[in-house]
């Protein structure tokens, strides 16, 4: 009998949704925050053989504190290998070894295309964002890209202002036409309201599950496109006791994950 304690917060549920997408033995490129948390939950529960790397050049880090960036000092001592960008982004990612990448963005559309470049026109942006960094190559080359964003109609946009990172671009066949490797692309969109997957034929994101307490109506209203809903739509499985135990006792004893509540992940 699987235990589901009731006292979880939404960011914990989202981190668990991410963890469940990681398979044992996966090679995972992580950032900080949700991605690192999800990958670590997976490692402590069903996927002990998953391994992680940071784009900055670190493989299998054993940080003594939560890393606050992918270049954090705590990633150095204890890691199994340190190189640089051409090692992780070049040899491993471009070389075809990466199973899972995690991304977020200011906007994502129905095809999983992500924007981290600008809001408004590129030449006169209302808000200038950081740019691609490692996002574009991860979205282009990882076998499964997991996207974590906050669920509102501005972020889940009908059209993103700038495609920084390729999802399925403008639909079926587009990645293939551009020569992106076969069997890569966005896998799932995890929000604070539900989980979306991509239709194998149309490559469009559809709702697979809604988080406890969220309604289909609310989710539709907060999505910038006419969101299709799976015939088998169901409630998202809440965090399991073992997952929460990993988060609270091992990975995040100071409950830093609460900062996401302040950022609107509620």
């Amino acid at each position: 009998m699987i235990e589901h304690p009731k006292d979880y917060i939404k960011p914990e549920l989202m981190a668990c949704c991410g963890a469940r997408e990681i398979h044992d033995g996966d090679v995972v490129v992580v950032g900080t925050g949700f991605p690192a948390m999800s990958a670590n939950i997976a490692k402590h529960t069903h996927a002990p053989g998953a391994v992680m790397m940071q784009e900055s050049g670190v493989y299998d880090a054993r940080p003594g504190r939560p890393a606050l960036s992918v270049g954090d000092a705590c990633l150095n001592p204890g890691s199994a290998m340190i190189g640089g960008l051409t090692d992780v982004m070049g040899m491993f990612l471009q070389g075809g070894w990466v199973d899972v990448g995690f991304l977020s963005g200011a906007q994502v559309d129905r095809y999983g295309n992500l924007n981290t470049t600008c809001i408004g026109p590129y030449d006169s942006p209302r808000s200038r964002l950081p740019g691609s960094g490692g996002a574009n190559p991860i979205g282009a080359l990882a076998r499964r890209t997991l996207i974590i964003v906050q669920h509102d109609p501005r972020r889940l946009a009908e059209k993103v202002d700038f495609i920084t990172t390729p999802g399925y671009l403008n639909g079926p066949g587009a990645r293939e036409r551009w020569g992106l490797p076969a069997a890569t692309g966005p896998w799932v969109i995890i929000t604070n309201k539900g989980v979306m997957r991509f239709d194998a034929e149309t490559k469009e994101a559809y709702l697979e599950s809604y988080h406890p307490g969220c309604t289909l109506e609310e989710i539709r209203k907060n999505t910038g496109w006419d969101l299709k809903i799976s015939a088998e739509v169901h409630e998202t499985e809440p965090p399991r006791a073992v997952e929460l135990k990993a988060i609270r006792e091992v990975l995040d004893p100071h409950r830093m994950i609460r900062v996401y509540e302040g950022k609107g992940y509620v």
């Binding site: 900055s56 960036s69 000092a73 340190i82 640089g84 960008l85 070049g90 490692g134 282009a140």
Partner: protein, 311 residues
């Protein structure tokens, strides 16, 4: 040849207005001391590059030293968007810089191509996205799409980069410039080796014999290096593995200061313009925040099995 000199002399003699600079670091081993000196000497019209830029590039942009930025990403990490960068692109303050956008795969590969004397290099990312649709000062030379001569598949080619000067910070170097580093590499090795000449700052100068005890750590050979500057704490508020940690509270201070133009100018005045060199910077840091805070950043010792190359 002994190339040891002050940062003041290194920057004055080897960096000219309008130069194309590779500036290394990935939060790890950011050459902050050199960046401050560039600002102090009022260098201008610079083109700057590296993967994953941070507060040091933001400062150069805010100080008006930059004309062009070959970019992949710039932010203040946990402290959010880069303020001076935003002001430049959104409001033209102090002026609008020109940006050419690549990624953390393509740009390091372009530096690698430069280091290896290749004219261009194929990369597998960027295709299909708006990164192909925006072209800055490089125009059509930002990239080319070709059909592979081998199998006809679409291939993206990006040009090699050959900066005029590479500026890096490392743990140790000898007087001639053999530079050794360890820890997160970013694109430092290829960025430095792609450059026509290299300025090395280091935590300590060691003898050629010490370099020879662990030569696998050398990332730049002495013949490419024009200046060696010994400057402990040169990466602050970034970090150097084995020497000192990231200074998160200083990162916050910079974010708060750079939130406004006035705050940013006051920061420049206090931490760069009124400070003659790195030793004075350290003294000022201790005066402002106390010796205990300075000590707290210093790294602990954590040695492994000593390396031996003997036969």
């Amino acid at each position: 040849m002994n190339k040891v000199m002050t940062m003041q002399k290194a920057i004055a003699e080897h960096v000219h207005d309008g130069d194309f600079l590779y500036i290394g670091g990935y939060i790890c081993r950011t050459p902050f001391s050199a960046v401050h000196e560039l600002i102090r000497q009022g260098k201008k019209e610079l083109t700057i590059t590296r993967g994953n830029a941070s507060d040091d590039f933001d400062m150069l942009i805010g100080a008006g030293a930059v004309k062009r930025f070959i970019s992949t990403f710039i932010s203040l990490g946990v402290y959010g968007l880069a303020r001076c960068y935003r002001r430049s692109l959104e409001k033209g303050i102090p002026h609008k810089i020109e940006v050419e956008e690549y990624t953390n795969l393509s740009l390091p590969m372009m530096l690698m191509a430069g280091a290896m004397g290749m004219p261009f290099i194929p990369v597998k990312d960027m295709v299909g996205t708006d990164l192909m649709n925006v072209k800055g000062f490089m125009g059509e030379d930002k990239y080319r799409m070709i059909s592979s001569p081998f199998d006809g598949s679409p291939v993206l080619l990006v040009p090699a980069l050959k900066p005029d000067v590479g500026i890096i910070h490392v743990q140790q170097a000898d007087e001639e410039g053999n530079a050794q580093m360890w820890g997160i590499g970013g694109d430092c090795k290829y960025g430095a080796n792609a450059s026509k000449k290299v300025i090395v700052s280091c935590e300590r100068i060691v003898s050629r014999d010490v370099i020879g005890k662990d030569p696998s750590r050398t990332i730049v050979p002495d013949f490419k290096v024009v200046a060696v500057v010994e400057e402990p704490f040169a990466s602050h508020p970034g970090y150097t593995p084995g020497f000192y940690d990231l200074d998160f509270s200083f990162g916050y201070l910079y974010q708060q200061a750079s939130n406004t133009e006035e705050g940013f100018r006051a920061f420049l005045q206090e931490w760069i313009m009124d400070i003659p060199d790195r030793a004075s910077y350290i003294q000022h840091y201790i005066d402002r925040f106390g010796y205990a805070q300075f000590r707290k950043l210093q790294a602990k010792f954590d040695y492994g099995f000593p390396v031996s190359y003997a036969y």
